[in-house]
């Protein structure tokens, strides 16, 4: 596998990687820096890439590791409820949204952009868990290991993050005229 192979296989994935980095970092400037660092790290490790393996998965893993290595754990603390209460609150809220027809935001044509903006607006401790579990598909246990927190904390933060995302997406749908104003509860 040559350096030419690296560019031919890895560079076409840049748009997907950029979107991933924007969601992970929460802002465009940091995302661009992260993408550049990811490609430099990937080039250094290209000799260890196994031909035929999934280049995308390999790159995204490098991106995630690069982000976590550079990241200083945020000092911001979030008052956490228990996972069960967070889940219940989310279900109650979503039921109310559905009863009011507010989940129609999911059918909006530009929902991806709205969803990305909502993810970027989350506090980092919550945003990271959305990326690990909801975007990458890690289990709660794997995410707990990555974040060095108990599984209960993963659940609480993840469920709170999803609740906040849905609140923000309902507001977006109201502002865009997709659903009537004043739907959120």
């Amino acid at each position: 596998m040559t350096d030419g192979d690296f560019e031919a296989l890895a560079l076409p994935l840049l748009p997907r990687l950029l979107r991933y980095a924007q969601r992970l970092t929460g802002n465009e400037a940091d995302a661009e820096d992260l993408v550049q660092s990811t490609y430099l790290n990937a080039l250094k490790g290209w000799h260890s890439f196994v031909p035929g393996a999934d280049v995308g998965r390999w790159l995204f893993t490098i991106c995630r590791h690069t982000f976590f290595r550079a990241r200083r754990h945020s000092a911001d603390t979030i008052a956490l409820e228990t996972p069960e209460l967070e889940s219940l609150a989310g279900a109650d809220q979503a039921s109310a949204f559905i009863a009011a027809g507010a989940d129609r935001w999911q059918d909006a044509p530009d929902v991806s952009e709205a969803l990305d903006a909502a993810i970027r607006s989350l506090p980092e401790t919550l945003r990271v868990l959305v990326m690990l579990v909801d975007v990458e598909g890690l289990s709660y246990e794997e995410a707990a290991q990555q974040e060095a927190v108990p599984i209960g904390t993963v659940r609480s933060r993840l469920y709170r993050a999803r609740r906040l995302l849905q609140e923000r997406l309902v507001r977006y749908a109201e502002d865009a005229g997709i659903i009537p104003g004043g739907t959120h509860v």
Binding site: R19, A91, D92, A94, D103, Q106, S112, I119, V130, V133
Partner: protein
């Protein structure tokens, strides 16, 4: 486990378990109880479907069209950085 060991759960309990159920993080008996509830409760079934759709949108990693121009500009920067890195390591 036999059917007689299963506990009928109500909407409140189903709400507590919903995210873990959708994430595949519930133990088998709890899954069976959850699914039994969903077959008999239209409200919770609707909630389950809506939240599943929400998670599907989160997991969708296709690139929005608005990102293409930014990605093209960044691709050139990356090419340049890679060329510099190769020149440095020779």
């Amino acid at each position: 486990m036999s059917d007689t060991d299963l506990v009928a759960i109500d909407c409140t309990e189903a709400g507590r378990r919903l995210w873990a159920y959708l994430d595949g993080e519930l133990a088998a008996p709890s899954v069976t109880e959850m699914e039994a509830h969903l077959t008999s409760c239209a409200k919770c079934l609707r909630l389950n479907q809506s939240q599943r759709q929400f998670l599907g949108l989160l997991h969708d990693d296709r690139t929005p069209t608005g990102l293409e121009a930014q990605a093209a500009a960044l691709r050139e920067k990356v090419r340049q950085r890679l060329a510099e890195e190769r020149a440095r390591s020779r």
